[in-house]
Amino acid sequence: MHLLMMSMYASITAIVLAAIEQKPESTRERVIHGLKVFASFMVIGLLLSWLLYPIPW
């Protein structure tokens, strides 16, 4: 459930950020930029959850 919600959050944010980014000249570059944003959200989110998991409070 949590992973699904995280993926949805990351997808929505990545699509919007990729659509408004000015640098990409072509659609392909824009899609790659969006995928990078999505991957960053997922990797950083998972890394943080893994690091914070042992904290008891």
Partner: protein
Amino acid sequence: MQTRDELSDKVSPRFAGVTDSPKTYQATSPPFRIAAVVAAWLVPGGGHIVLGRYWRGLLFLVLISGSFFFGLSLHGRLYWPQTDKTAMFHVDLISVLWTFAQIGAGSCYWLAQALGLGLVPRPEAATYEYGNTFMFLAGLLNYLLIMDAYDIAAGRKR
């Protein structure tokens, strides 16, 4: 010996990406810019639609309003500044911030308010925090879209 202009002609193409001034596009009149900003706030993606970026505007409309109402369906709460006699300025500051985040979604927020959706907080629901997060996301992303619409209207972006 090369003249300064000859040297500049030879060197400049190599540094075109670095030295070129920011590209400018066709700017609209100030009243139209304000109209685009208001439209962008009222209807997510509305600013882009007003500026002729129909597909982008529709995409934003679906994503932002979808995120907001998805949050509501997950028992997210509609925030409004709460009074708190013990707090500074007699107002619960965190509720002001949450309200600011949600109100960015414009008509989605007011529609939910009018329909009485999410007015009763349900923190006992398992998806309560997820719901709130999606509603904040919708509002905050729409602030970005408002600024993007202004940049397009001002001729700074395509």
